[in-house]
């Protein structure tokens, strides 16, 4: 079975792969899938695993160095043996699909051979659509009170985000310049819906497109939220799309912290006797464990 790992840049795909490799190879987590054979060279897997064990930031996967990782896995509980292949594609691949409205024959072949999709989202990289009328009350309050003095005292350059700044999403008070529409500025949920629509229209036409949404860095999410509830709240358009199309796009949402915490807490993370105890997997029902293979098991059952 081949799975397609998708997600925009910096959504935790490679970190997940590093932690996954550790779990299936080390057999530390009871009940997890374990590897019985690796196809091809394993230097890439070992390198990213090493960085993960050392709590070092993993380098962003560039398009030129995308890897196809492939193993034979065994489900200890059922005895089933499965071939699993997961191309580690750069998030840039998907960003370009949205912006240029093209993909390669190679990608289409990969997707057409896949039985399901792992879709990664990161809480910190979500871009939300913010309407001007929704922030007007706040602006009005700031302009009426001392806030106006604060606003006016700020220089027009570095202190406040300007429309042309990279990553700048907002413009507050003062002089404003309207910049032309750009696909790059579109909200995350719209880009992801479109990518799923591309997959459904071509390689997954006339067949089920099972999707596991993996919310990375789940340790950043406070409270007792279930992953599905988080998706409904932060990416409502995507959640509706998945819910409305559940007949052809069955889906489930997991919250996963492959690192366990921020890398700045490396010292604490490395106190765990078993490295896999760092991993926090929040299941769709809100329960937690360390079995990072749980999303794969769900897909394997479709």
């Amino acid at each position: 079975m081949q799975l397609l790992i998708t997600g925009l840049p910096e959504t935790g795909k490679t970190t997940f792969l590093a932690a996954l490799w550790h779990v299936i190879e080390s057999e530390e987590v009871p009940g997890s899938l374990i590897v019985s054979e690796v196809h091809g060279i394993r230097d890439y897997l070992n390198k990213i695993r090493e960085d993960w064990l050392n709590c070092e930031a993993l380098e962003r996967t560039k398009i030129a160095v995308q890897k196809n990782v492939s193993f034979r896995l065994r489900d200890v509980q059922t005895g089933k043996v499965l071939e699993l292949s997961m191309p580690d594609l750069s998030g840039e691949t998907f960003r370009l699909q949205w912006e240029s409205r093209q993909w390669t024959g190679e990608f289409e072949k990969l997707a057409s051979e896949s039985s399901g999709v792992l879709l990664f989202m990161h809480p910190r990289t979500i871009v939300e659509p913010v309407r001007i009328d929704s922030v007007e009350p706040l602006v009005a309050v700031l302009e009426e009170g001392n806030g106006s003095e604060t606003l006016n005292s700020l220089p027009n350059s570095a202190s406040r985000p300007q429309p042309g700044d990279p990553g700048s999403q907002h413009s507050f008070g003062g002089e404003t310049t309207t910049k032309p529409w750009s696909a790059a500025d579109t909200a995350t949920q719209v880009k992801v819906v479109e990518i799923l629509q591309f997959l459904r229209a071509r390689p997954f036409i006339d067949r089920l497109l099972p999707v596991v949404v993996v919310v990375s860095a789940w340790d950043l999410i406070s409270g007792d939220k279930k992953p599905g509830g988080w998706l409904r709240e932060r990416l409502p358009l995507l959640h509706q799309f998945l819910e409305a199309n559940t007949g052809t796009v069955p889906f489930v949402v997991f919250g996963i912290s492959a690192q366990g915490a921020e890398l700045s807490e490396a010292k604490e993370l490395q106190q765990h006797i078993k490295a896999s105890d760092r991993i926090i997997v929040t299941m769709p029902d809100g329960s937690t464990n360390h079995d990072i293979t749980a999303p794969l098991k769900w897909l394997l059952e479709r």
Binding site: T104, G105, R131, T177, W181, A201, P236, F241, T246
Partner: protein
């Protein structure tokens, strides 16, 4: 699938790749996501039963803003008890919402004016929150005010707009900012009625048509106080008297898609309108109980449909 994509796949002039390496390196075009035309909309209408909603009205009467508002509401969550199930024109929707979003750098929410005479369509697939029915596909026209000025003033131009005859919902917008202004309200009303009259006289709208008259920017009508409301009541009475007998259905709505006055929420009045566009169509009657008493004149084909698809809505003439 998008026609452009199908065309590329089927293009006999394109040489077939002969090696795996060539196939791997091939660049495949994906759907543009931009506006559809009546021709390219075939990718939707051929695949799905589709409702066509035509928004008509003078320039700057709020047609595009109304559409953008619908899409914005779905960006926030389910709307009108409906779920967003997809769209072939996401780029088209995004461009129309852009100037009303913080990311544009604009100080005040705005909508780019629709220019030119091109026939543009936007697509939405929506589904009941309860998931009881399958998705309903809607195509919305986004034509410029200039198009409607042309068809208001010319029967021939009206008849040339073939899409008019196919609409499930003809939505006539009367600009609330003009209705609220004593200097412009008579012209606004008369222009709206002239447009409707032209479409009826040209045979493009009639007893098979569902017509919604929308007082857009209703916050401004309400803000004008009793004089504004009185004129609105007069407009309703006049339009009803002149046109109700010539149409399949005539209704009136107050909408403030992006109200400026306080006290009205964003998308005021839009939910009810959208819901009716999804649920109703002049081309479908409500579901028949099965087994239904069949009229002796029912054709064999219709009888077969009722047996084969007992839950399917019967296609028939409304009146």
């Amino acid at each position: 699938m998008n026609e452009e994509l199908v065309k590329k796949d089927a293009d006999p002039a394109a040489p077939e790749p002969t090696t795996g390496a060539e196939e791997a390196g091939a660049i495949i075009d994906l759907p543009s996501g931009g506006d559809l035309t009546p021709e390219t909309a075939g990718c939707v209408t051929r695949a799905f039963l589709t409702r066509l909603v035509l928004l008509a009205g003078e320039a700057e009467s709020g047609k595009t803003t109304l559409l953008a508002t619908i899409y914005e509401k779905f960006n926030e969550g389910p709307f009108a008890n409906l779920l967003f199930a997809g769209s072939e024109t996401l780029i088209g929707w995004e461009k129309r919402c852009y100037l009303a979003r913080v990311v544009s750098g604009a100080e005040k929410a705005d909508t780019e004016r629709t220019l030119g005479l091109q026939q543009r369509l936007l697509h939405l697939s929506l589904r009941d929150e309860g998931l009881e029915n399958s998705s309903q596909h809607l195509l919305f026209t986004d034509f410029s005010g200039e198009v409607f000025k042309l068809i208001r003033d010319s029967t021939a131009e009206c008849q040339r707009l073939g899409i008019l005859k196919r609409t499930d919902h003809f939505v006539l917008l009367l600009d609330g900012s003009k209705v609220a202004d004593t200097r412009s309200r008579h012209e606004a009303l008369n222009n709206g009625m002239a447009l409707l009259r032209s479409c009826i006289d040209a045979g493009m709208v009639g007893l098979r048509s569902f017509v919604d008259v929308v007082f857009s920017k209703y916050d401004l009508v309400a803000a004008a106080g009793q004089p504004g409301l009185d004129f609105q009541a007069y407009a309703v009475t006049t339009i009803t008297r002149r046109f109700s007998q010539r149409l399949g259905r005539l209704r009136f709505h107050n909408v403030a898609a992006r109200p400026e006055a306080h006290g009205m929420e964003f998308a005021y009045g839009v939910a009810e309108l959208l819901r009716s566009w999804v649920n109703d169509s002049p081309y479908f009657v409500s579901q028949l109980a099965f087994p239904a008493q069949l009229d002796p004149s029912t054709s064999q084909f219709q009888s077969y449909l009722r047996v084969r698809f007992p839950d399917f809505c019967q296609i028939g003439v409304w009146i």
